[in-house]
């Protein structure tokens, strides 16, 4: 008996109507995962740069970095994503007040195999999530760097390694291992934060669920499914990170 056939619990609850939306919801989930991994990666790479700038950058650079981190952490993510999203619109309105041709094209899109992988809303989401995540990740990375004893860098310099080489071969390999437990906070917050993309028209999982509800009126059921999917996703992420942490642990420590 298929879950969609007459008499099954799915049908009894009226969920078969949601079945029509399965493809859209899956596409939305794929978009959510895509936003997540790209933003997490951008956030990580930029976060390492920010953390190093704050830790080793000297008075000027470290203050700029600290300022960036404070501003990003002190303002709502939703405001940040709207800011990035409307920026080209505002620029167009300001630079070409009489209408088209616009200074910046906003209707571009890149598709691979019929799937839209990059467009103005998607890029805005990736940028907003990546730049936001970078600020949080930078603090986790910097905390890990600061927890490494001074003697490690001292020994590296005494051997004749430059500061950059010391950071690369001695400090970062240890910092990356140490930061995993606290960093996994950010890794498991970020999938939930990707829902802000919905507000700038990206068709992510959350957005698709809203559309499915508008069509089927199965709001409680849909939100329960949405919650369950995020829960599974985040559970998997924390399990994987816990395993990575155990596997990369330095023996004896």
């Amino acid at each position: 008996m298929s879950v969609w056939s007459q008499g099954s619990p799915v049908v009894a609850l009226g969920l078969e109507k949601l079945g029509d939306w399965a493809d859209e919801l899956l596409a939305g989930l794929a978009m959510t995962l895509y936003l997540y991994f790209v933003a997490l990666t951008i956030g990580f790479l930029l976060g390492v740069g920010l953390a190093l700038g704050r830790q080793y950058g000297g008075p000027v650079l470290s203050r700029i970095v600290t300022g960036y981190i404070e501003v990003v952490r002190g303002t709502p993510l939703l405001a940040q994503i709207f800011l990035i999203y409307v920026f080209p619109y505002s620029l167009n309105a300001w630079l070409t007040p009489d209408g088209p041709p616009f200074f910046m094209d906003i209707r571009w899109a890149i598709e691979i195999g019929g799937i839209r992988v990059l467009s103005h809303p998607i890029l805005s989401s990736i940028l907003a999530l990546g730049l936001n995540s970078a600020a949080y990740q930078a603090e986790y990375i910097r905390g890990a760097i600061a927890s490494i004893g001074e003697g490690q860098m001292l020994a590296a310099r005494a051997l004749g390694l430059s500061q950059m080489e010391g950071i690369r071969h001695v400090i970062l390999p240890q910092a990356f291992r140490r930061m995993i437990p606290s960093w996994s906070n950010e890794a498991s917050y970020l999938p939930k934060y990707t829902v802000v993309a919905t507000f700038i028209t990206v068709e992510d999982f959350f957005g698709m669920a809203k559309r499915a509800i508008a069509a089927t009126f199965l709001s409680l059921e849909t939100w329960l499914i949405v919650a369950a999917v995020y829960l599974v996703l985040i559970t998997v992420i924390s399990r994987v990170l816990e395993r990575v942490y155990q596997k990369t642990k330095i023996p004896g420590l």
Binding site: Q152, A155, R157, L159, Q174, G252
Partner: protein, 262 residues
């Protein structure tokens, strides 16, 4: 190479942190194969002196020459100079994420530019030298303090430096682990390694030091051969200090003399 030229010349080195003057004009030469022992009360500036020598903490005034080349000169690469000055730390400072062998190989590979294979070979030889070859695949946290310090010494040796600086290499060790480290250092000294050793191990000093330098309050109070100091130092301050050491470390000194007498 000119045997009469000092390996290391320390000329009138001054260093202060804020208002605190730590070094107030220290000078000495270290010749090829010479062992200098620097000692004195804590806070007298011994560790700072070693850090000034390899410019980890550049001196405010004064000069350090390695085989006639001045450190801190604009056209001398400080990293290249440091590669020729080994350093052994009180708290070992082994790289926590690397196995013993990789701790020793990283310098030859990343600083001297040896191939991975050659660096490993050289590291293995250095570990054998300090009798730690059997522990090559262990991480620092899996080793005792004495074993860690021997790896620390191997790390310095593998660079084949002109001189090795020892910053109180045994003072963080449990008493029963001091002997194995001192034995390695005695062997190195007898093989002709040029060494500057900050230590309170007077047995070691007596056995191999060519000259002992007593530092207090950032200045050299007295210098001379071990015989000079142990027959009776000129300064009352030094005599008091040696007497205190004897009270504290008397027993270990006897043990060391046995090691030396083998």
């Amino acid at each position: 190479m000119n045997k009469m030229e000092p390996v290391l010349r320390v000329r009138d080195v001054w260093k202060s942190y804020g208002d605190l003057e730590v070094l107030k004009g220290i000078s000495f030469d270290v010749m090829e194969s010479e062992v200098k022992v620097v000692f004195g009360p804590s806070g007298s500036g011994k560790s700072t002196l070693l850090r000034c020598i390899n410019y980890l903490d550049p001196p405010d005034r004064g000069d350090v020459f390695l085989r006639g080349v001045r450190l801190g000169e604009k056209d001398t690469d400080i990293n290249e100079m440091r590669a020729r000055i080994g350093m052994v730390f009180q708290h070992f400072n082994l790289f926590a994420h690397l196995r013993a062998i990789d701790n020793v190989a990283i310098g030859p590979e990343k600083v001297l530019g040896l191939s991975k294979e050659d660096a490993r070979q050289r590291a293995m030889a250095a570990l054998e030298h300090v009798k730690m070859a059997d522990w090559a695949d262990h991480y620092p946290a899996q080793l005792s303090g004495g074993q860690q310090q021997r790896v620390g010494i191997a790390r310095a040796l593998a660079m084949e430096p002109d001189v090795i600086l020892f910053d109180e290499p045994t003072s963080a060790l449990d008493p029963e682990l001091i002997g194995e480290v001192l034995q390695v250092m005695l062997d190195l000294a007898k093989e002709g390694t040029t060494m500057v050793v900050v230590t309170h191990e007077m047995g070691f000093a007596r056995a191999v030091a060519n000259e002992m330098i007593f530092i207090d309050g950032g200045v050299v109070v007295e210098r001379g051969t071990p015989e000079h100091f142990f027959r009776g130092a000129d300064s009352e301050r030094v005599r008091q200090f040696l007497h205190k050491l004897e009270e504290l470390y008397g027993k270990e000194r006897e043990e060391l003399r046995d090691v030396d007498g083998e």
